[in-house]
Symmetry: C2
């Protein structure tokens, strides 16, 4: 990887990392910058990114270069087919309301079409009405509400118990 | 692909397909058997399967060979890291309550560990209390209830509107 590419990727994961810090001030992430680099840009990427950058002629030495991102990957539903799953989506506060989010979502829609995806899925925190309104204006449906789908997790310690035969 | 492998894969996707028919009797799937074959076992698989088979010495000519499956893939959360996402999980009615589901879930837990996943995620329909109890006994937490995460979708026609600039 050349130095320019590295600086760019570092800028991307640094933006993701700042966003995580902001979003979860009270917690400690399992994921560090080196994981984000390896997991997204290593030999077997587990996610992809669309990024919004400040045009080079408007960049200052101190300002951010990457000011927004969407993290996505492809999933599958045997009933629907290929899906584009939007994992996370963020535009820095001072760059909002000028259409960057819409532009990113347009790019993702183009990508969904070009990769023959039949739907885009994502989760939103129920208290985040601003985001819910943003997506609903673009045709999003709340399938937890409409179809009763609930998201579950089994954490690492319970997986370990199953794997080791402690729970059957 | 050799004929034995093809017959086996056909048996797998046939089981998935029968399950889909049973689950959604009222609907028409976008996905047909040839899609399931291509999407799961082509050059770029979008899902993986664990299958439960009747041992060869107990197979009859008319009985099913593949009697259960779990469909899964890997996803990513920038806060948690790699996730094993359990998309669908099914054991034929007459083969239930003899531990096949537990065995499949144990295999998936082993796989999650070996691939350094920090959690297993999945959705369950809120009316499916039997499945919810099955997962909760194994340590599952309802993060729609506990953390307020709601699942949304944007369907193909709305993606097209965004892609073509009709919605901004």
């Amino acid at each position: 990887m050349g130095p320019t590419r590295f600086i760019f990727l570092f800028s991307v994961v640094n933006t993701i990392s700042s966003y995580l810090l902001m979003k979860h001030l009270q917690g400690v992430s399992n994921v560090v910058i080196t994981d984000l680099l390896e997991d997204g840009f290593g030999d077997h990427p587990f996610y992809h990114c669309v990024v919004a950058e400040v045009p080079s002629e408007q960049q200052s030495n101190n300002g951010p270069v990457v000011i927004g991102f969407a993290m996505y990957y492809f999933t599958y539903d045997p009933w629907i087919g290929k899906l584009l799953y939007l994992e996370d989506f963020f535009v820095m506060e001072m760059y909002r309301n000028i259409g960057i989010g819409s532009e990113i979502l347009k790019l993702l829609s183009d990508m969904a079409f070009n990769t023959r995806c039949n739907s885009m899925h994502f989760v939103v925190a129920e208290g985040n009405q601003k985001s819910i309104d943003f997506y609903k204006r673009r045709g999003a449906a709340d399938i937890t509400h409409d179809e009763g789908w609930r998201l579950f997790k089994i954490n690492k310690s319970s997986l370990f118990k199953m794997s080791s035969g402690t729970i059957e």
